[in-house]
């Protein structure tokens, strides 16, 4: 019952799994550090101190685009359940790429804001 989406679909499948594995690791670490660790109160200083380290900046710089790819590719799978026409599929894909890249850029801007605040 797969539509005719060609090889883009197989890459979508593969990258959904690869980003998913990354996100599983990132999200466990992110949640552990921010919510399960003893010092759980978060404020501006807590975030800026963490983002003062290059390691954490790189961590979030990978986390953000991986998350947005996984999110929009996932929503695309849901759209695909409804077997969109080729034109609709192309329009939705374009919209999702634009939104995904724009929100990733916004995420980078926020990382930079916290990183500068230290």
């Amino acid at each position: 019952m797969n539509g005719k989406t060609g090889k883009g679909s197989a890459y979508g499948w593969l990258f959904q799994r690869i980003t998913g594995l990354f996100l599983a690791f990132f999200l466990i670490l992110h949640t552990q550090v921010l919510h399960f660790a003893k010092e759980w109160r978060i404020d501006f200083n807590v975030v800026t101190q963490r983002l003062d380290s290059t390691g954490w900046v790189i961590f979030y710089a990978i986390f953000v685009p991986a998350l947005l790819f996984h999110a929009f590719n996932g929503v695309w799978q849901v759209v695909h359940d409804y077997r969109p026409s080729l034109g609709t599929a192309r329009a939705v894909k374009t919209l999702f790429w634009v939104l995904g890249l724009a929100i990733s850029a916004w995420g980078y801007y926020l990382i930079a804001t916290f990183s500068k605040g230290a």
Binding site: A24, F44, V47, A71, G74, V75, Y82, I103, L110
Partner: protein
């Protein structure tokens, strides 16, 4: 021949009635939890954007979010993330190691880990929700 569905919930309802099994339920739950997480991500980015107003604006935002309700919603969020993460790992393991025959067993293993993890989460998060100075 499989017929294309046009109604919004029809696709899912038909899939469930054709094959009412853990595979279909987990597929549906993966879709639902995924969509919730997408919406959460947008809210999360929106809340973090308050940092552009400086430390005091950001801290005021966070302070406003420290309520019993939001802490309880946080536990729900952890549950949604945990389900999506564990079921996603199961899907990936099934796909990469060709374990389709064991997918149901793997689902129940994932659910056992889910329950254990949620018990730990409740122990850690519940006292915060009802702490006097949240």
């Amino acid at each position: 021949m499989y017929q294309a569905k046009t109604s919004f919930f029809g696709t899912y309802r038909d899939e469930l009635s054709l094959n009412p099994d853990v595979g279909t339920w987990s597929w549906l739950l993966h879709r639902v939890t995924g969509l919730i997480l997408v919406l959460y991500t947008f809210m999360h980015f929106f809340a973090l954007s308050s940092s552009l107003g400086g430390a005091s604006t950001f801290n005021a935002w966070l302070a406003n979010l420290q309520t019993t309700l939001t802490h309880l919603l946080e536990i729900g969020l952890v549950a949604v993330v945990a389900f999506h993460l564990l079921n996603g790992l199961r899907i990936t393991v099934v796909d990469f190691f060709l374990l389709t025959k064991s997918h149901k067993t793997l689902f129940w293993i994932a659910m056992i880990i889910f329950v254990v993890f949620m018990v730990i989460t409740l122990i850690v998060f519940l006292p915060r929700a009802f702490s006097p100075h949240h």
